[in-house]
Each structure stands twice: as structure tokens, then as C-alpha cells.
């Protein structure tokens, strides 16, 4: 040990004598430096300033040095994190069935796992010749590996081939968009509450981990046969900017995007997802999209202003300073409450108030997931449900169950077509 120390002080001494900026692991480049302490010329210990100090200190360390040999027991202290538990399957472990739809950057097929004898969803991502694995796919895989929650879709397996990447997800019968089409005119208010609660439960879990979903829409909310809600499509989660045309040839829907982001704000946080939840909440109640813009951002804003009123500097200080705010394109509409727009909200106490709190124009005024789950609207959710651990479905103990829907789609029932 002492030998080492002696060598060390010799090294440190030698170091400074030759002024060794060249030897620095980081050169003189300043990319690597603490944000809070931004201005220092040197960036590596190789370039340190006072030799004398170091030599003395090194000596001091010798004196203070304990026994560093008996540490193997303590080594890898709580190394139990990050267990790569997802096995890497091969393509022939799954049988590809009919296509289910197009994701934001992939095609999803129904599939059958031969080994497990159950249905799965196969999300096929074509590898880009220029850029290899799309970074949305990389993001989605790494996020979903960390998120283990009853209301977030389960990623079972990842299959890599030279030309494509396939994510194997649990199979969930339908999504909220199809469910809404199947039951037009608004859902059973009991189911609205169960769906919304589960949506908030999954989203709150993400938000606690500082993950934003950023693409909340009915197509990305899966609904199982017994009414379990599963958040899906994390391809855009926590990326730098909001999804836009540049990510895919399809136009990304603007219906669930909050006004501050439509106005050009990039300084968003969990409030971004909450607006989307508010839109979905009201859509489940009324049966139709709350703010169905048809053309572009200004049309989308017009839809929102038309329903809830045009904001002014008095009602929303700073609104006119947003980058995309355009006074010329802004029509003036009288302010209205959400209950006036969607009267059916009044059928359930607290529903209108919760929706109002979610659909606040000013992002900082929007309610947080956790607070929303504690809102009086949810007072009739049994205690036995609230206390469930995150990985357990709310339908596990029979305290709640999916209610029959009042309205069925007339004509050729989709269910009969499937069966």
C-alpha cells in the first residue's frame, strides 16, 4: 500500500512538472464540466493546479488509510437493480396473425406465442438503412423495461433480426378509440370513472418516475375484456419535443394537445399529459372528441377557444406573448364552463369540477395525477382498491367490475364480426 502511495505522489509531482494538459483525458474541451460550477479552466485531474497540496494530501491519505482488502462482502452494494429479465426470443417462437394497426413508427400484428400458448401483440419496427434502430424504439424499450404497472402494457420479449425489430407485448382486446366507437353517445358513467381512475393510476406511476407519456390519445389506451386500462405506445415518451409531422409521415393528432404547447411552449411537464386526460375524460362522457381540430394548430386552438372561451391577458396573463400566438387568427368566444359544453358531466357529482381542473388553460393550474386520484369524484372508489400495490389490477378482488354499456353500436356489431 505504501509503495503505491509513494508512486502516486511521484506521479502527481511529475505530472505538474510537465504541465500536462496534453495528457488530460478530456483535453481542454469544456464539454465535461459541472453545470453548477461552470467556469473552470481545467477539466481533468491531470491538469490540476497545486501539486504541493496533492502531495501533502496523498501523504495524509496514507496515514488515514484503512484496510481496503476486506471489502468484497460489501462490494456490489444493492446491485440488485437492473435485472435484464426479458428473454431474447427468436422469430419462430411466435406466429404472426392479422395486422391490428399502425403505431407511430411501427406496424402492430396480432400474434400467437407458441411456447406460452397465448395471444400477443407483435409490434414490428423496420430498421432504417441510414440510421439503424429508430431512437423512438430504443426509448420505448428502455422505458417499458422499467415500468411495471397493472395499467401499463407489458413488454414480454424483444426479437432482433437484421432487418427489423419486434416488440412482443401482452395482447389486449381493444383500445379506447374502438371502445368509444362501439358504444356511441357516451359511456356508462360508472365505467368512465373506472377507466379514468386506472388511466390516472398508470400515468401517476410514470409521472412519479419523471416520465411523460406525451402522446395520450384513445388509440394509445388499451382496454381489456374485463375493463382493464393499459397505457401503450411510449415511443414518444420523454423525447425532447412534442410529436409533430417530422417524426412520421402521418399527421399526429392535435386533439389532445394543451393550448400552451399549441401556442409554442416547450417548457411543459406533467401538465401536458393531464390536459390529454381531461380531453379523454370528457370524450368518454360525451362520446365525441371534445376539441376535434381539423386542419392545423390554429384550427385546433380555435376549437378549444370555441368550447371554453378565448383567453385574454386578464384570464391568462402572458397568453399573447407565446411564440405562436396570433391575434389576427384569434376569434373571440365567450368563456363557458365545461359542464355547459358537456351537460352529461353533471350526472356524477365532482365530475365537472375534476374536468375543469384538468382542462385549465394555464399549465401550472392543472391538477396533478395524484391529486386527481384523491378528488371527491373518486370518493366511491373502495378503500380496498386504493390500497392495491401498483402491479395489481383493480379488478383483482371483485370490489369493482365493468358495468354494461347503455349504448351499443347499431347495425353490424363489430363483436359479432370478430366472433
Amino acid at each position: 500500500m505504501k509503495k503505491l502511495r509513494r508512486r502516486l505522489s511521484a506521479t502527481l509531482l511529475g505530472l505538474n512538472n510537465d504541465g500536462s494538459a496534453t495528457g488530460s483525458a478530456f483535453g481542454t474541451n469544456t464539454t465535461f464540466r459541472p453545470k453548477l460550477f461552470p467556469f473552470r479552466r481545467y477539466s481533468s485531474m491531470y491538469e490540476s493546479e497545486t501539486v504541493r497540496q496533492k502531495i501533502n494530501a496523498a501523504k495524509e491519505t496514507i496515514e488515514n488509510s484503512g484496510n481496503s482488502k476486506q471489502i468484497s462482502n460489501q462490494r456490489r452494494h444493492s446491485a440488485a437493480i437492473e435485472s435484464p429479465s426479458i428473454p431474447f426470443g427468436t422469430e419462430d417462437a411466435y406466429e404472426k396473425l392479422e395486422p391490428l394497426g399502425e403505431g407511430s413508427y411501427a406496424t402492430v400484428y396480432k400474434g400467437y406465442s407458441i411456447g406460452h400458448q397465448k395471444l400477443v401483440a407483435l409490434k414490428e419496427i423496420t430498421l432504417n438503412e441510414e440510421e439503424g434502430t429508430p431512437f423512438t424504439a430504443i426509448r420505448e424499450a428502455s422505458l417499458l423495461k422499467q415500468l411495471k404497472h397493472a395499467n401499463i402494457v407489458v413488454l414480454h420479449d424483444i426479437i432482433q433480426t437484421p432487418t427489423k425489430l419486434t416488440f412482443v407485448f401482452e395482447y389486449v382486446t381493444t383500445d379506447l378509440s374502438q371502445y368509444l366507437n362501439l358504444h356511441p353517445g357516451g359511456l356508462n358513467m360508472k365505467n368512465v370513472k373506472l377507466f379514468l381512475y386506472q388511466l390516472l393510476r398508470g400515468l401517476s406511476y410514470c409521472h412519479q418516475r419523471r416520465i411523460l407519456h406525451r402522446d395520450i390519445k384513445p388509440q394509445n389506451i388499451l382496454v381489456s375484456e374485463i375493463g382493464e386500462i393499459k397505457l401503450a405506445d411510449f415511443g414518444l415518451a420523454r423525447a425532447k419535443s412534442v410529436p409533430s409531422k417530422t417524426y412520421s409521415p402521418d399527421v399526429v393528432t392535435l386533439w389532445y394537445r394543451p393550448p400552451d404547447v399549441l401556442l409554442g411552449s416547450t417548457n411543459y411537464s406533467t401538465s401536458l399529459d393531464i390536459w390529454g386526460v381531461g380531453c379523454i375524460f370528457t370524450e368518454m362522457v360525451s362520446g365525441i372528441a371534445t376539441f376535434p381540430g381539423v386542419r392545423n394548430i390554429s384550427d385546433q386552438l380555435d376549437k378549444i377557444w370555441h368550447k371554453l372561451g378565448t383567453p385574454t391577458e386578464e384570464t391568462w396573463p402572458g397568453v399573447t406573448s407565446y411564440p405562436e400566438y396570433c391575434a389576427a387568427e384569434t376569434m373571440f368566444y365567450e368563456s363557458r364552463t365545461i359542464a355547459e359544453v358537456i351537460p352529461r358531466l353533471m350526472k356524477d357529482p365532482g365530475a365537472a369540477d375534476l374536468a375543469t381542473k384538468m382542462l385549465q388553460y394555464q399549465p401550472f393550474k392543472r391538477i396533478f395525477c395524484q391529486a386527481a386520484m384523491n378528488h371527491q369524484y373518486f370518493t366511491d372508489i373502495p378503500e380496498g382498491i386504493i390500497k392495491l400495490p401498483p402491479t395489481v389490477s383493480i379488478f383483482c378482488n371483485g370490489l369493482v367490475k365493468l358495468a354494461p354499456e347503455e349504448n351499443e353500436f347499431e347495425g353490424d356489431s363489430l363483436t359479432s364480426v370478430i366472433s
Binding site: L4, R5, R7, L8, G14, G23, S24, A25, F26, G27, N29, T31, F32, R33, P34, K35, L36, F37, Y42, S44, M45, S48, Q53, K54, A57, A58, T61, N64, S65, G66, S68, Q70, I71, S72, Q74, R75, R76, H77, A79, A80, I81, E82, P84, I86, F88, L127, E130, E131, G132, T133, F135, I138, R139, A141, S142, L143, K145, Q146, Q160, R238
Partner: protein, 272 residues
């Protein structure tokens, strides 16, 4: 394989060892690879998190593969490429190849074959498979800042210690510390080392009436870590400086970029 942390035994008996590569050579490859990733990353203006993530991928990758079977330059390039995507600072593969070209000699570029881009992309696939899509990597940097915020005042001194510890973290990426210890542990150890070298005694800011004065400062952050662990990590770091020949370029596989460059005729005068 249940975690990305290894004991020293596992690190010593890496795949490269069974392939007949000496431990000293492996250490050098790791150091040079890390250094290469830093250089390319800096040239591409990537953030330090991205570069650090790329280096952690590199260390993990060569715990599963031998330096003999996978070329370390290509491996390193693929790691940086993937780190760019994982850290949401994606760079075009074409630009990466360009940056690599400016750093490597023509002879070294031969390792990348006729189509360097294709080579990097196919290695990215292998890398993803090897690291099993575990792409979220934490680094000691943020813990250094976090812990420093909870230390007792003399801000000027602490700032100095933090800056020094930060530089230690930069250099620690050239070692296998990230394969041995969680970033929190590396952070307290390198803060400890920096404080020792600055002859400054760190103490945690009392956080209430139950503050235990008998505990060492770091035990207020990581109660289960004792001084032997810290000592070991500091020694590894000092040992690294000791072994690394800093006078000469320790980067000898890579020649310094040429200063005199012939300007090709075809370069346009203005960018339109």
C-alpha cells in the same frame, strides 16, 4: 446474468482473458476506448451524459465480448452512436463516421471496412442485444451535485472540491469503476478523494434534531457504505493516475489529428 455490476474476480476473468489478452492490455483497451468515445463525442458536441453513457455501454459490452472478437474502435463508435439515441441526443451515423475519420488515421479507419456506416449500424444491433436494451444509465455526476448541496457551508471550498470530484468522475470513466459500484457510491468516494486532496473536511448539513454526529458525512447519504469501500475506490482511482503515462499521449493507438490539411478544390466558397 442478473445485473450490470461485477466483482473484481469477474472483471479479471473477462471474455478477453479467456481469449488470451493480458489484463494490462485490456485495461489499456478500456482506457483508450473511453478516451476515443470522449474525443469523438466532444468533436460532435455531445453532452457529457451522452458520452458517459456511451462509455458505460462500452465497458459493459466488453464484459460479454472479447476485445479480440470485436474491434474496439468499432465497438466504441457503436456505443457512442447508441448512447446518442438513448440520451435523446441522436446524431446521424454519417456525421459520426465523419467525426471518427477526423480522429483516426487512414490505417485505423481500415478496421471499419468499406462501409463504416453499415459497420457501426450492425454493431449497434449486436450491442443492443448484448446489453439487453438496458439503456437507462445513471452517472455519478448528478449525485456529486446532489450530495454537495447537502454539505455544510463554505461554498467556495465545496465548489472547489466538487469541481475536482467532477474531474475525477470524468477520469473514472476510463476505469472499470462503473462496472463495480453504483454511481452514488462512486460519487461519495470521489468527493471524499477530492476533499482529502484539498485538505478539507466535509460534513453533512444537520437535517434535524435527530442528526447523528457520530456518523461520517457520506453515511448521511449512503448509510450502508463504510470507509473501506471508499478507500478502495479512491485507491483504484489513484492507481489509475499512477499507471497512466500522462506525459506522452496515452492514446497512442490514435494519432493526433493532422494540423495541415490540403483544401480540396471542390469546397464551395459560400454556403448557400
Amino acid at each position: 446474468m442478473s445485473s450490470w455490476y461485477f466483482c473484481s474476480n469477474e472483471i479479471v476473468n473477462s471474455p478477453s482473458r479467456s481469449d488470451g489478452i493480458e489484463i494490462t492490455a485490456e485495461c489499456r483497451y478500456r482506457r483508450e476506448g473511453a478516451r476515443f468515445i470522449m474525443d469523438v463525442g466532444n468533436r460532435m458536441n455531445l453532452r457529457y451524459e451522452t458520452v458517459a453513457t456511451g462509455i458505460v455501454f462500452y465497458h459493459r459490452f466488453y464484459m460479454m465480448h472479447s476485445f479480440k472478437t470485436i474491434n474496439r474502435l468499432i465497438g466504441a463508435a457503436a456505443c457512442l452512436y447508441l448512447a446518442g439515441k438513448a440520451e435523446e441526443t441522436p446524431k446521424k451515423c454519417r456525421d459520426l463516421v465523419k467525426a471518427v475519420r477526423t480522429i483516426l488515421s487512414e490505417r485505423q479507419m481500415e478496421a471499419f471496412g468499406d462501409d463504416p456506416k453499415e459497420e457501426i449500424i450492425s454493431h449497434e444491433r449486436l450491442l443492443l442485444q448484448t446489453i439487453k436494451f438496458d439503456l437507462c444509465v445513471q452517472h455519478p455526476y448528478k449525485y456529486i451535485v446532489k450530495f454537495a448541496k447537502n454539505l455544510k457551508d463554505d461554498r467556495a471550498q465545496i465548489e472547489k472540491v466538487v469541481q475536482m470530484a467532477w474531474n475525477f468522475v470524468n477520469d473514472s470513466l476510463s476505469t472499470t469503476l462503473c462496472l463495480q459500484w453504483k454511481p452514488q457510491v462512486v460519487a461519495v468516494s470521489l468527493l471524499h478523494l477530492a476533499a482529502k486532496l484539498s485538505k478539507y473536511n466535509l460534513s453533512a448539513a444537520p437535517d434535524g434534531p435527530h442528526y447523528d454526529h457520530s456518523k461520517s458525512w457520506w453515511q448521511h447519504f449512503l448509510p450502508e457504505i463504510n470507509s473501506d469501500v471508499l478507500e478502495d475506490i479512491c485507491l483504484q482511482m489513484l492507481d489509475f493516475y499512477d499507471k497512466t503515462d500522462v506525459g506522452a499521449s496515452n492514446y497512442n493507438m490514435i494519432s493526433p489529428p493532422k494540423i495541415t490539411m490540403k483544401v480540396p478544390q471542390s469546397i464551395p466558397y459560400r454556403t448557400l
